[in-house]
C-alpha cells in the first residue's frame, strides 16, 4: 500500500492523466481508511474549481457574456 505522500502524488496526477486501474483501486482503498487524504483530495478539487473561477472572472468570457 502506498503512503499518504505517494497517494497525494497520484491525487495530483489524476488532474493530468488517467490513472491506471491499479492506481485507482489502491487510491480508493487508501481513501477509505485515511481522513487526511480524503480531505486533501477535496482540497485539490477545490483548487481546480477556484482557479477556473478566477480564470473566467479575468478572462474575456465574463465581460461580455
Amino acid at each position: 500500500m502506498l503512503s499518504c505522500r505517494e497517494e497525494t502524488e497520484l491525487m495530483s496526477q489524476r488532474f493530468e492523466r488517467p490513472l491506471s486501474f491499479g492506481e485507482r483501486f489502491g487510491l480508493r482503498v487508501h481513501l477509505l481508511f485515511c481522513k487526511g487524504c480524503r480531505a486533501t483530495l477535496r482540497h485539490f478539487m477545490f483548487l481546480q474549481t477556484a482557479t477556473r473561477a478566477w480564470r473566467e472572472h479575468h478572462d474575456q468570457d465574463s465581460t461580455h457574456r
Binding site: R5, E6, E9, E16, R42, L47, T49
Partner: protein
C-alpha cells in the same frame, strides 16, 4: 471598429488584463509590458473587429501568448541561487508534513463550505497571495496549467521539462496552495 472605438473598448479591459498578467508573471513591469504589447497589437488590427467582444477575445488571446513567450524566455535562463534556494526550502517544508513513512504528521481536515468562499472578495486576495507565495517554477507550471488552461504536455514542451518533472512541480504547487489556503483562509491549525 475604428481605432478610436477600439481604444475605448480596451481601456475598460486594461485593469483586468493587468491583474491577469501580474498574477502569472509576478512582476509589475513585465505584466505592464505584456499588456502594452497586446493592446498595441490590437490597435493595429482594429479594422478587423466586429465589436468590443471580439476585440476583447482577441486581446486576451494575444496576452496569453505574450505571457507564454515570457515564461519560455525565463525558463531558458539559468535559475538564480536565491530562486533555487527558495524552491529547495519550499520542497523541504512540504516533505515535513509527512513522517518518515510518508504518513501525514497532522491530518489535513475538511474545509468548511469552500464554495461560499468563491463569492468573497477577501478570499480572492488570499488566493492571489498564496499563488504569489509559491516559488517561481511550481507557480509557473501551475499557472500555465490552471490559469491559462493549457495541457500538461504542451507546458512541458514549452518549458523544456520532462513530464515527470512537470508532475512533480504541479504536485508541489497543489500541496503548497492547499497548505497556504488552509492556514490563511480556512483556519486549519
Amino acid at each position: 471598429m475604428t481605432p478610436h472605438e477600439l481604444s475605448s473598448a480596451v481601456s475598460v479591459l486594461r485593469p483586468r488584463l493587468l491583474r491577469f498578467a501580474r498574477l502569472q508573471l509576478r512582476d509589475a513591469s513585465s505584466a505592464e509590458d505584456a499588456v502594452q504589447e497586446a493592446l498595441l497589437a490590437a490597435t493595429l488590427h482594429a479594422g478587423q473587429f466586429q465589436g468590443a467582444s471580439a476585440a476583447a477575445t482577441w486581446v486576451f488571446a494575444i496576452l496569453k501568448n505574450k505571457i507564454i513567450d515570457e515564461f519560455r524566455r525565463r525558463s531558458r535562463q539559468p535559475q538564480g541561487d536565491a530562486d533555487s534556494g527558495q524552491e529547495q526550502e519550499f520542497a523541504e517544508a512540504l516533505e515535513e508534513q509527512f513522517d518518515e513513512r510518508g504518513h501525514w504528521i497532522s491530518h489535513p481536515t475538511p474545509w468548511t463550505d469552500p464554495q461560499a468562499s468563491l463569492e468573497q472578495k477577501r478570499f480572492w486576495e488570499v488566493f492571489e497571495v498564496c499563488i504569489g507565495g509559491l516559488p517561481e517554477k511550481p507557480a509557473r507550471v501551475f499557472g500555465m496549467r490552471e490559469l491559462l488552461g493549457m495541457e500538461t504536455a504542451e507546458i512541458c514542451k514549452e518549458l523544456g521539462l520532462s513530464t515527470s518533472n512537470c508532475w512533480v512541480l504541479l504536485h508541489r504547487a497543489r500541496l503548497g496552495l492547499r497548505d497556504c489556503l488552509s492556514r490563511r483562509w480556512f483556519g486549519e491549525t
